[in-house]
């Protein structure tokens, strides 16, 4: 325990330098702005803001990115409440009651509830990260290639099976990611693979370029369909961004209740904020004395999912930082950005660079405080930006994406890849193919193959290596179970759908 406190102190010393503190503030602000843009979620937001971190030292970069992450989550809620347009899946639930509250003239209270619930949920989750991050890293440190392979495979199957009812399409997404990740020089043998004779592909496809394309560019393509939309925002009607004593009495218990469950779900690979906030919402509705108020502007319907959302997004930092395996699209983007800065997140990070790992954890506390202090009084002004027309925003987003891409490798060939992946992401959205499995595979594909082959070398080519290691076997079994279970669920629901259709005919 003393260790933990000493480390945390080290972290605060690192995070509280004037430069880092300044970037927490700037990052939170920028994050709020991009998160608020209609249709732009945290993953896209971080992707287009990556260039900001160029030229920073790794600690500052990571701190800034975390700040952007929180800011974007918070900004997403503003969009949900004010214009009923969630930035990403995790703030859909906030629309249910948040937008209704705004319609009833309680926008200020809804925004305050969102800020307060996010703050409390985030702070509790941060405290849990402090306790759990180091042990998670120590466990992961003992993992050999076989265990790592099994764990990554489990993370990937989880990402696929949790993409609701899209098991097969999720697999396609994952496989395409693995194919793209295998392009370039094979790390083990030095053989060139699938470069199609192009020298520029020798080092493989830069996954950040692919990610920016798949998220940001495809988002803009989608936005073209609604380029003439202008949202009407009446910021005067927001009123005071505060809650009453009665409100507080109603929401504090749901907030505290929703946080721990959301935290543990957030640690699991594949589960993003969307699922946890929905779970928190439905649980609270079941526990509520007047469940019929939910969906009509119940303040608890804003508080619980917002707390859960923030708790799970904070928790998802653990697998990213301590094991090197992102558990959501957003943390995957962060991981990619870090690797580009030369930081390899994973168990060794806590050993070799405790100042980075703990600096980030400390900065999460600071980020939460900054956000609540900054945003509560400023929300009415920030919300005005929602009235910015799409026809101005879309070009800006696309230019930022191109700029960021160029500055990564100073290569204009990347523009070609960016456009290619933008089109691919757009096609995937049109085909209802989930994008997170693709991103996960792009980032971890190499490691998956490498660990597999290393494990095979150690056992001279026998698959029994996975059988002999209990941890590896457990993860493989979990992966298999989750696949089989979701196959079973698929069968059941499609059988149900078929009977419904027949009944209608």
């Amino acid at each position: 325990m003393e260790d933990v406190l000493a480390n945390l102190l080290l972290g605060f010393q690192n995070a509280l330098t004037p430069t880092n503190l300044l970037w927490v503030v700037i990052g939170s602000f920028l994050g709020t702005l991009v998160g608020m843009l209609p249709g732009v979620g945290p993953a896209t937001g971080i992707a287009i803001l990556i260039p900001v971190s160029y030229g920073m030292d790794p600690t500052t970069a990571l701190i800034t990115m975390c700040a952007i992450y929180y800011g974007a989550m918070f900004g997403g809620s503003i969009a949900s409440i004010m214009i009923n347009t969630p930035g990403d899946a995790s703030s859909i639930v906030t629309c249910f009651d948040g937008f209704r509250m705004a319609q009833k003239g309680r926008a200020g209270a809804a925004l305050a509830t969102s800020a307060i619930a996010s703050f409390i949920g985030g702070m509790i989750a941060c405290a849990m990260v402090v306790v759990l991050a180091q042990p998670a890293a120590s466990v992961a440190l003992k993992f050999g290639p076989a265990e790592m392979f099994a764990l990554i495979l489990f993370a990937m199957t989880a990402a696929v099976t949790l993409a609701d009812g899209k098991l097969l399409r999720g697999c396609v997404s994952l496989f395409i990611g693995l194919v793209v990740a295998s392009i370039g020089i094979d790390g083990q043998t030095g053989i060139l693979r699938y470069t199609m004779g192009l020298d520029v592909l020798q080092d493989g496809v830069d996954f950040l370029v692919a990610i920016i394309g798949a998220y940001a560019i495809s988002e803009v393509f989608n936005g073209y369909a609604e380029k003439n939309v202008v949202y009407n925002i009446d910021t005067k009607s927001i009123g005071q961004v505060m809650i009453t004593k009665e409100d507080w009495k109603a929401i504090w218990l749901p907030i505290v209740r929703s946080t721990p469950i959301a935290f543990f779900l957030g640690c699991l690979p594949g589960i993003g904020g969307s699922m946890t906030s929905l779970i928190a919402y439905t649980t609270e509705r079941q526990m509520s004395k007047n469940p019929e108020n939910f969906g009509k502007g119940d303040i608890v319907g804003v508080a619980a999912p917002e707390a859960a959302n923030n708790a799970s997004s904070t928790a998802s930092i653990i697998p990213m930082l301590a094991i090197g395996i992102p558990s959501s699209g957003t943390t995957a983007v962060m991981l990619g950005a870090l690797m580009m800065l030369g930081v390899q997140p994973g168990p060794m990070l806590f050993e070799q660079h405790p100042e980075i790992a703990w600096g980030v954890i400390a900065s999460m506390f600071i980020g939460n405080i900054v956000l609540v202090i900054m945003n509560m009084p400023m929300v009415p002004y920030i919300a005005k930006l929602l009235a910015l027309p799409q026809k101005l925003l879309l070009p800006i987003i696309i230019c930022l994406a191109f700029m960021g891409t160029y500055m990564m490798n100073y290569s204009s060939f990347d523009f070609f890849l960016l456009i290619l992946f933008g089109l691919m992401g757009f096609a995937m959205q049109k085909l209802d193919i989930p994008i997170p499995p693709l991103v996960l595979a792009l980032i971890l594909g190499d490691t998956l193959e490498k660990t597999f082959r290393q494990a095979m070398v150690a056992s001279s080519g026998s698959l029994s290596v996975f059988k002999d290691k209990p941890i590896a076997l457990t993860f493989l079994a979990l992966a298999a179970v989750s696949l089989l279970y979701s196959l079973y669920q698929n069968k059941k629901s499609s059988a149900k759908a078929a009977t419904v259709v027949e009944a209608e005919v």
Binding site: L178, K227, K391, L400, M407, F452, V501, E504
Partner: protein
């Protein structure tokens, strides 16, 4: 002819899987001692893609007037396709001129092309947005973040 999203996805997976499978077979043998070599893992991925593709293509789906959402149809969105095509072309040209012409001018042009897509021919408005954007970002990166960008013909 109507085709479902599942079928399209399945076909894509099948085609990539087959191409990938043969590309993998054509890889050179490894000279380094490696029990499974550089082909084994991609082969597994290829087989997986083909299997999933087949499952999706062969999946029986009933198309009723009520579940149009499962259908794949882009023909209704001609304008959108045009905008996207224009953006892609502009992006490629941006890539070609960025280094020779320099960041400021090429970004101004690219931004104007994008504004043309969303805002039409309001030239003065578009130009001013482009100018403000390219100047601010250049200044921000060059002076604040210390990242240099190509100057091109404006080098002095």
């Amino acid at each position: 002819m109507a085709i479902t999203k599942n079928k399209v996805t399945g076909l894509v997976s099948l085609v990539i899987g087959v191409v990938y499978f043969f590309a993998t077979r054509n890889l050179p043998e490894s000279a380094v001692a490696d029990p499974i070599g550089p082909k084994a893992f991609p082969t597994m991925v290829a087989v997986g893609m083909i299997a999933v593709g087949l499952l999706l293509v062969l999946k029986r789906e009933r198309v009723t007037p009520k579940n149009k959402a499962v259908l794949f149809d882009l023909t209704t969105e001609k304008d959108l396709m045009k905008d996207i095509g224009f953006t892609c072309a502009a992006g490629l040209i941006y890539g070609l001129i960025l280094e020779p012409v320099g960041y400021l001018i090429s970004t101004l042009l690219f931004m104007n092309a994008m504004m043309f897509v969303t805002n039409g021919r309001r030239i003065v408005y578009n130009l001013s947005v482009g100018l403000v954007f390219s100047l601010t970002t250049y200044g921000l990166f060059f002076y604040v973040l210390d990242v240099s960008l190509p100057r091109g013909i404006l080098a002095f």
